[in-house]
């Protein structure tokens, strides 16, 4: 094993700072004592970070709940699904987005769009709930053109 020592060639410029910190001049802000933490959107949408995942939407079956294609979903696996919750389910090894609905002892995964059909749990159709969706994130500017189309129709009467 060889040992070599590397030294850097150059000019000596070891400087010792005169002041370790900058000098405070003038008056301290009168609001300094009232400073609070910043608003944390993560904390607002995440109850239990270790159980929170994210997902992206493909399709339009939940438009009635304000969820559009390409929206980001917050998926919380620590929540137990209540009737009416939006959930990420698994059917035939695929992730699907629906609302969980329980009535008269029957369980459904419901779309929120009249062009789609409910899915009922029975012997032939099994589903599993992967997580509950407590929040979704919609990029409003991406919906601008759709909105403008609607405005035009309104103005045209």
């Amino acid at each position: 094993m060889k040992e070599i020592t590397l030294f850097r060639r150059g000019t000596a410029e070891t400087l010792i700072p005169l002041y370790a910190e900058s000098i405070h001049a003038g008056f301290e802000s009168p609001a300094a004592d009232y400073e609070e933490e910043k608003i944390d959107l993560n904390a607002y949408v995440t109850k239990y970070p270790a159980a929170t995942f994210y997902a992206r939407v493909a399709g339009e079956c939940m438009i009635g709940s304000g969820i559009f294609p390409d929206d980001i979903l917050v998926v919380d696996r620590s929540l137990t699904p209540n009737s009416g919750d939006i959930v990420v389910g698994i059917i035939d090894n695929e992730f699907i987005l629906r609302s969980y609905y329980k009535k008269n002892g029957k369980e459904y995964l419901m779309p929120d769009n009249k062009y789609f059909k409910p899915i009922e749990r029975n012997e032939t159709t099994q589903f599993e709930i992967w997580g509950v969706v407590p929040h979704s994130v919609l990029d409003q500017r991406r919906r601008n053109s759709a909105r403008l189309n609607r405005f035009e129709q309104v103005l045209r009467g």
Binding site: M1, R9, F53, G59, M62, P69, R77
Partner: protein, 425 residues
């Protein structure tokens, strides 16, 4: 009491959480460079006989015929899932030691008046629900017994995933079904010795006279012996001791003969090691660089060389370390060999607060601080925008030598563009 919480087939389980199509099917996760199996599903173990280390080419036919799925190792994903599991465990059992990527020990001394078995069953169910990863929990009076209890849980208590080794009868039964070389701390070398001496099970081992164990296996063996008898000898390690050295190296996917790609690879490994160094808030003033050919070629084609470099001032600056390591590499590089690996090992790590400046040092304090600030900014950007957002030019851009990861899944939990897609159709 002590608990050992261990994820079942962790890498395979983590892949399955985000790829439901992989569930209930034989599959495995491959090692770096997709060389061999390092995590296997139960189906792959039982039905296909895939072992730890079964090489890629031996599994190829099963993969092509659709019997077996595989994935390259996605350490970013596994690390994130591990972080989640340890957090959930800590909420129940706060005295926790992270032992490896898929195991942690917990000291349950503060839980005297609880039904520990039920607490563990609830915790296991919670981890499965919150993360999708199945774990087993073994509880015993020492770390070594907790390890054994965990194995029993995996074998015999698949429904609850928990085995609480409460009384001597249960301990003896568990020790009798544990082969002596499977005991934590004994290992294959002493295992062979013991089996030759007629000691087959962990129970047999505990029946030996203590002096005999001490003579045969030194003080380490006696520690394991006493732990099996219920005496705590291995304490919890809450704070990981400072790593003595950090090394970073991987084999190339093909051999490399030219200096330039070797330099790129080394610079990349140095950058990784330097990042780890800064994460630990450490600096180093000494490191070793090495280059080697394959050991499986004829002797005249074999070459292994290392070189130790001392810096005049300890640093964690990537640029400084890369420059010095490349100089060292050029010293040991000999044209003509087909290199399979280069690597770096940072040594003599010290906390960055203890930087001792060489009186001849030419790096001024202000420059040192500036370098530190610059590296902190780079680390911050790379953490938030992906590991290689800002790189040193020396690390190269093509990386023809880079790790083979042909079957890598997405970074489902750490990158917004990689999250699962949910069908709303």
């Amino acid at each position: 009491m002590m608990a050992l919480i261990d994820s079942n087939n962790f890498y395979v389980s983590a892949e399955r959480v985000f790829q439901p199509e992989l569930r209930d099917k034989a599959g495995c996760v491959l090692s770096n460079n997709d060389g061999c199996a390092i995590s296997r599903s139960n189906e792959a173990k039982e039905a296909l006989g895939i072992r730890m280390g079964t090489p890629f080419f031996m599994m190829r036919q099963k993969h092509e015929s659709g019997q077996l799925w595989w994935r390259s190792s996605n350490y970013t994903l596994y690390q994130d899932m591990m972080r989640r599991i340890t957090q959930i465990v800590r909420d129940t059992f706060p005295d926790q030691e992270i032992y490896s990527i898929d195991e942690c020990f917990c000291d349950l001394s503060t839980f005297k008046h609880h039904d520990l078995e039920q607490v563990a069953i609830d915790l296991r169910r919670k981890i499965l629900q919150y993360t999708g990863v199945p774990v087993c929990i073994g509880i015993g009076s020492t770390k070594t017994l907790a390890k054994i209890a965990n194995k029993v849980a995996k074998k015999l208590h698949k429904d609850t995933g928990v085995f609480y080794m409460g009384n001597q009868q249960q301990i003896d039964r568990a020790l009798k079904m544990t082969e002596v070389d499977d005991v934590w701390g004994i290992g294959p070398r002493y295992g062979i010795k013991l089996i030759k001496a007629g000691v087959r099970s962990a129970f047999d081992f505990t029946q030996l006279p203590e002096d005999y164990v001490l003579k045969l296996m030194t003080i380490q063996g006696r520690r394991t012996y006493r732990e099996l008898k219920g005496e705590r000898c291995i304490p919890m390690e809450y704070e990981r001791p400072l790593k003595e050295g950090i090394s970073n190296a991987r084999s190339f996917n093909t051999t490399v003969t030219e200096l330039a790609p070797l330099e790129e690879a080394l610079a990349t490994y140095v950058a990784n090691a330097a990042r780890k160094l800064r994460e630990q808030k450490c600096v180093c003033a000494k490191f070793m660089v090495y280059a080697q050919t394959s050991q499986f070629v004829i002797e005249s084609d074999r070459y292994t060389k290392d070189i130790v470099v001392k810096l005049s001032t300890a640093t964690s600056d990537t640029g400084t370390l890369i420059t010095a390591s490349l100089k060292a590499l050029r010293r040991i590089y000999i044209k003509g060999y087909r290199y399979q690996k280069v690597g770096v090992e940072l040594r003599d790590l010290k906390p960055e607060t203890q930087v001792q400046k060489d009186m001849f040092s030419l790096v001024s304090t202000s420059k040192f601080n500036k370098l530190q600030q610059a590296m902190a900014a780079v680390d911050h950007i790379n953490k938030n925008h992906g590991r290689n957002t800002i790189i040193h030019g020396a690390m190269g851009f093509e990386k023809k030598w880079a790790m083979r990861q042909e079957f890598l899944s997405r970074k489902f939990t750490t990158r917004m563009e990689d999250v699962i897609v949910v069908k709303a159709i």
